[in-house]
């Protein structure tokens, strides 16, 4: 492997495949290196793939890609131990072209997507770990792999090696993450009859539903749970900041069991059979945890550069857009014959100017805020459940009396002031 490529992309996930696809399409000689047996074999997500950013890479992909269900309803459950306040939006416009998003199973989808990059001319090699970047005179000029004579050279190396980007870290682009900058998510894929899924989730054929779970799903720890419908399986998972698990000494798989057995969730999954158990980290430090993402001869994309919008459970779309912009940048650099940091900085500028950077900045303080002030999840979600129960329980007391009781339940004047202040603060970090 002493050949020299225009670009080497490390990691065949949504970011890396997008980048390799567009590079090959633009005429570049590109090598895509994946450490797993096949693309997708190491990749995990809850399951929502966003149509727009995927179509920016492959128009009308939904006509042939292995997708599960187009999502027509998104529900949000604020959970207490034996209750939940739920709101949802269901819109049939999401059930037809051009669609909004889809559930996917990544092992299948990523293989299909990588095939598309190969069809464009990218060279994919699996079962290969990149051990380090080869740096000469401060410039990244290639990678060293775990294959015999495994050195490969390129004008640009694109790091799409995921949340555990040991490569970006070893280049000094970011420090080791702290436990409050990553969320540990565990999930199970549960087999359930297609018709049963449709009945339970109020769906027609080829419609899907996502439910995001807040509050008691994470026992009040900062994080969320999720329940997504696939064709004939459900994906049920729960993720919390690693710091939360450490602080509360909770085993992640026991938390997952807790969610599976929660009275608000159990009826949805009853009779289903677990098919796979998965654990993965999600980079949730946000904008403030993003390190350097461009250097001489190197660009960092996707999870490797912390591109996740935790508030809106978006990640794969940010990854794809970053991959696309990296490809665009490398093609421009190739034309100019200049692969310096200054030239490649085009990627960073485009990324931060677009929706990715805008959204990362918008929510830059949110994870930290909700970690610092646990009362949102611990106290306020139970509080709104009690208020809803009070208001909707017909027991002979007047609605005015009920409102009074709800106000009283909020606590002393001091506690009400604190609540008002917290609501204002929460508004400020997400506005």
């Amino acid at each position: 492997m002493s050949e020299k490529f225009d670009a080497i992309v490390v990691g065949a996930g949504p970011a890396g495949i997008s980048c390799a696809h567009d590079l090959a399409k633009g005429g570049a000689n590109v090598l895509l290196i994946e450490r797993g047996e096949y693309p997708g074999s190491k990749n995990v997500m809850g399951g929502v793939l966003y149509r727009k950013m995927m179509e920016d890479i492959i128009p009308e992909f939904y006509k042939e890609a292995p997708l599960e269900r187009p999502i027509v309803e998104q529900r949000f459950m604020m959970m207490e131990k034996e209750s939940a306040l739920t709101f949802s939006y269901k819109g049939l416009e999401w059930g037809k072209e051009p669609y909004n998003n889809f559930t996917v199973l990544r092992a299948k989808f990523d293989q299909w997507f990588a095939d598309k990059a190969v069809q464009q001319g990218a060279i994919l090699i699996n079962e290969t770990v990149v051990l380090e970047c080869i740096v000469e005179d401060g410039k990244v000029v290639g990678v060293r792999t775990d294959r015999p004579d495994g050195e490969v050279y390129a004008d640009v190396v694109v790091l799409a090696d995921g949340v555990n980007s040991l490569l970006a870290q070893s280049l000094g682009f970011h420090k080791e993450y702290k436990p409050n900058e990553v969320a540990l998510a565990t999930m199970e894929v549960l087999k359930l009859d297609k018709k049963v899924i449709e009945d339970r989730f109020n769906l027609e054929e080829n419609q899907g539903c996502t439910i995001e779970l807040f509050g008691d799903a994470t026992k009040g720890i900062v994080g969320t749970g999720f329940l997504y419908t696939n064709k004939d399986t459900l994906s049920l998972g729960v993720g919390t900041l690693l710091s939360g698990l450490i602080k509360h000494k909770i085993k992640p798989y026991e938390l997952l069991e807790y969610v599976k057995n929660h009275p608000m969730i159990r009826p949805y999954i009853q009779g289903s059979e677990p098919q796979e158990y998965l654990a993965h980290l999600i980079p949730e430090g946000g904008y403030n945890s993003m390190g350097k993402i461009v250097g001489d001869g190197v660009i960092v994309i996707g999870d490797a550069s912390q591109l996740v919008n935790a508030i809106h459970r978006e990640g794969s779309n940010l990854a794809m857009t970053s991959g696309r912009l990296a490809a665009e940048t490398v093609l421009l650099a190739k034309e100019a014959g200049d692969f310096s940091e200054r030239r490649l900085d085009h990627y960073r500028v485009k990324l931060l100017d677009g929706f990715v950077g805008q959204d990362m900045k918008k929510y830059k303080d949110s994870t930290h805020h909700f970690e610092k002030f646990p009362q949102y999840f611990e106290q306020y979600i139970p509080m709104i459940n009690r208020a809803a129960s009070q208001m909707f329980t017909v027991d002979g007391s007047s609605k005015w009396e009920k409102q009074k009781k709800i106000m009283k339940d909020l606590g002393s004047t001091k506690e009400k002031m604190k609540l008002a202040r917290d609501i204002y603060r929460a508004w400020k970090v997400v506005k």
Binding site: N164, V182, I246, Q275, A279, L281
Partner: protein, 98 residues
């Protein structure tokens, strides 16, 4: 329904996953002594999603074969006492579905 069907325990959950384990570990406790003398909580035995880390009286047993390669132990170890690498290409966990 039996335990297997519900996959309640971590052993049952791990049974659902395909692994192609390497013959040598990609996880290393840097200094065994730190676990023994400076780490009363041994929190890695709690937060590891695959229960890879098990305390055996005086030493940490690392069952790397069932590792999900999530990286939590490297980040969560309060003493930064875990050297974490990727398993050799093609080895380790093989997700078949999600």
């Amino acid at each position: 329904m039996g335990e297997q069907k519900n996959a309640q325990s971590i052993e049952a959950k791990q049974y659902l996953v395909r692994f192609n384990a390497d013959t040598k570990s990609h996880l290393h406790v840097k200094d065994e002594d730190i676990c023994l003398t400076q780490c009363p909580d041994k929190i890695c035995t709690i937060f590891c999603p695959a229960e890879i880390y098990k305390w055996e009286d005086i030493r940490m047993h690392v069952g790397y074969e069932g590792c999900h390669e999530c990286g939590s132990c490297r980040i969560g170890c309060p003493h930064q006492n875990i050297r974490w690498e990727y398993p050799k290409g093609g080895h380790g966990i093989v997700f078949r579905l999600a």
